[in-house]
Every structure is written in C-alpha cells, then in structure tokens.
C-alpha cells in the first residue's frame, strides 16, 4: 500500500538563513523551527508506508546559524499513547547533517515525531506531526 505522508507543519524556503544547511537536496523536505533552532528533514524513501522501515535525513542549526546537534529521534501516536516498536539510530554526517535510521510506523493515523536537538548546554525537543492514511 502506498501512503502519502500528509503535512501539518509549515514549509519555509531556506534563503533567509543561508548559513544553515537546510537544503536537503532535491528541493524537498519539511522545516520545523522554534525560538532557538531551525531544522529540516526529509523521509527516505519520500513516501512513508505503514509497516515499511524508513530513515530521516535531518539538518539542524541554531536560528543564528550556529552549529547544533541531533541527539535522538522517536515517534508516538498521541491518541493511542503508544510509540514505535523500533528504535532509531542517529548517524552524524557532518555540517549539521544527520541521518536517523530504522523508523517504522506500524499503523495509520497521526504520528508525532520528536527530535531532540542540542546546541552547547541548551537542548530542546522539536515535534512534527505526520498523518499516515
């Protein structure tokens, strides 16, 4: 079954923060931001399918264009209060780029992806919702 991942977040064009490596290539991706951080990510493969493993290519930096780190990625279904049965592993690719490998959504519905990011002593959890049909 092919499933389109619906997007609830806001899409931003990156040019305003040219120093931030938000371009994930292929002109695709979702941007999540807070007061402190800017983050972009793209699933691989681009279409997330129920029951199929996928990875996330992630870029993160501070809003001032400084370096930041991705510590962990997880996901859960807030309505049903259960998480994934899989644990993602993070690989740093340098230049604020990371890859989270080994995610799998086992059910259609709303999934909240959480990204734990850090810059220096400051850390924060960013979230993004995806609805799998």
């Amino acid at each position: 079954m092919r499933l389109a991942a619906a997007l609830l977040g806001v899409f931003l064009a990156p040019p305003a923060w040219a120093d931030c490596p938000l371009d994930l290539g292929r002109g695709t991706g979702w941007v999540v931001f807070s007061d402190q951080y800017l983050m972009a990510f793209r699933p691989d493969p681009l279409r997330i399918e129920v029951g199929e493993p996928f990875a996330l290519a992630v870029s993160v930096c501070t809003r001032r264009g400084g370096p930041a780190e991705l510590l962990a990625v997880d996901a859960n279904m807030p309505e049903h209060r259960h998480g994934m049965n899989y644990r993602a592993a993070i690989v740093a690719k340098g230049d604020g780029r990371f890859r989270a490998e080994g995610l799998l959504f086992h059910m259609p519905g709303r999934w909240e992806i959480t990204f734990d990011v850090r810059a220096g002593d400051d850390s924060e959890r960013l979230t993004h919702d995806i609805i799998l049909k």
Binding site: M1, V50, G51, P53, M77, P78, E79, H80, R81, H82, G83, M84, N85, Y86, R87, A88, A89, E101, G102, L103, L104, H106, M107, P108, G109, K133
Partner: protein, 391 residues
Amino acid sequence: MIRLLLLLVSLLAAGAVGVRAQHLLDWSPEEIKAVGQHGPWPPPPARDPSNKVSDTAAGIALGEYLFNEPRLSGDGRMSCATCHQAGREWSDGLAKARGAVELDRRTPSLWNIGYLHWFGWDGAGDSLWAQSIRPLLDPREMNGGPTRAGELLRSDAALACGYERAFGNTPGTDDERLLVDTAKALAAFQATLVSPRTPFDDFRDALVAGDRESASRYPLAAQRGLKLFVGEANCSLCHLGPRFTSGEFGDIGIPFFVRPGEVDPGRHGGLVRLAASPFNLLGKYNDDASGNNTRRTRHVQRQHTNFGEFRVPGLRQVGRGGPYMHNGSLATLEDVIRHYSEVSPDRLHSDGIPLVRPLGLTAGQGADLVAFLRSLDAEPVARPSPAPLCP
C-alpha cells in the same frame, strides 16, 4: 431426479433475479480510496534477498519435495504438510497444532506467507527460511535433530540432485549449512503460495475503475460489511493493505493463559527468541550482502506493551479456515465478530483511545461483516503434482 432438477433450476433463477435486483451502495471518494488500498490482487511474486534460492524454479521444486518429506522428522512420520495441508488452506483445522504433543498455538495458514516480514504468531522469525528451521528441530514438532536434513540430502539421490540444481554444488558435509539450505528451499516453495482472486477483488477493481455495473454484482451485505470494515469498525487500522494485515502485532483482548498460572507472552517472548537465534538476519546465513533487509531486526525494540501481542493475521481465505486466533479459541467467524462486538475494555491494555473497543454491533451489522469476510474467500486452483526433481 426431475424434481431435483426443477428445484435447482428455480433456485438458480431466484439467484439470478437476486443478482439483478442488487445495486450499489453510495461510496464516497474517501471510502473508494480506503477500499482501493486492499488491492490490487495478486501482488508480484515475492522475492527474499536473504535467500539465494527464493523465486528460483530449482529452489521451489526442491522445496515442494522437502515440504512433503516425512523423513525430515525424528520418527519419519511427520512432514510440514502434516500440519500445513494444501486442502485445508495450508493449516490443519485444529484449535491447537498437534505434533509429538499438543502445542499451545494454532497452525497458521501459509497463504501469502512470502510477503511478510515477521513470522510466527510472536514474530520470533525474521525470515521465512529461519522460521522454517524451527519445526524441523523442535522436539514438540518434527524433532528432526540438527543432522537429519544433511544426512537426507546426501543419501537420497533425487534430493541430492535437486539440491545441486538449486544451490549449484552437491550437498557437502556441513550439516548446519544443509539445514539452512533445506529451510531456504522450503521457503522458496512456501513463497509461491498466493491465494486466489476473490469476489472482493472484482468489486474493488470495479469500484476503483468506476465500473458501477460490475461493482453492483457484489452482494449488498458484503458491501455494507466492507463499509463497516474500512469505516466505523476501524478494522483496517490493523488488517490493512492487499493482504489485510500490517504484518505487525496487536492485542485484541484474546486471553493468553495457556494453563492456569502460565501465559503465552506473545511478541515479548518472540523478540527474546529472535535475538537469541543464530539464524536471524544479522547472522552469517543472510545471503543479502547489502544488509538492507536487516533494518527491522536491527532496530526492533522490545517493550512492555509487547506482552500478549500477536501478529495481525491476514484475512484472505479466512472463512475457509478456522478455528481462529493464536490459540484457536474462537470457533467461527461469527464468534470472532461477537468478540469484537462485546470485548471487555478491561481486557485491553491501553491508556489512550483504545484501538479495539466493544463495537456493540447489531445482529445485522455482525452478519454484514461476516458476509464481507466471506467475500475474501475463493476456491484455490488445484496444484498439479510436482514434476520429478531430476528426471
């Protein structure tokens, strides 16, 4: 005789009128999309990169012989086909499988098994071939011991020849390798077991194509049941896709006591066994050098909630099988629907919005769901007996 014929003719006529009088319910674009996701059928042949003889003619041929081979068992009397019977939808019709002793779980059907990623009710196997090793060794099942497969492949001329055709060399002296290769041939054969197209598939294709006339041949009760299945009853949350399973695990409140004081831990125990198995995809017998097929095994995480979870069964040919559930505790499809209608919320271990809740179906709705499930059944094409391995 003539009376009987007349009766038959009038029954057929009544049937024909029934068909003509039927029509199509209103299907919204969202519903059509949801129904469309349960097809198309059949899927392309299953290929397993961890198994070099998967989807090869010689591997499949050898596997079919081995599947029916009682000499693989300790007492020479039991084969895979003893429990997974072609005429019984590749199961045995029993509530609990009977090997050397009665087992704690039901024999699952092997239809469409090649498309799964986790095997066994508890997902203890991460490949079809790894799952096929267990019954060969398990003392409660075939009890073949670790060397029997190797001895048989070396000593039987036809099997040795079939082995050489499939694997490219004569059977060697490494018994563990030959046990794994036996399982890989068995897996190649089992992956060809694809269930036939059904009345549901004809309806699904017609609905998606906008062919109202063909679609209206699908009985109204089945249409109503299908609407419930993808809609209000939310069955397709877990029974999704063309095979009607996510391939993952769930807890629908089937009691998992095996004996007083003893429970079947389900997925929780399966993950322990998976990690301990020398035959899992992280081990040396995985034929896929890319490692792409190891992602599930590498990243799967045992959680407390896995306790009492069992794999979501596919629903094709379900009405021709039964009894139902991992322990065969429900005898009929009607019993299954009654379970979903009346399941006690106390049995469901969920803090949030429960995935399964007592649906409180009317008798009519229950009958409609059963009518829909039965439309996932069709008479399989009889298998020709296999050609000789090495004529």
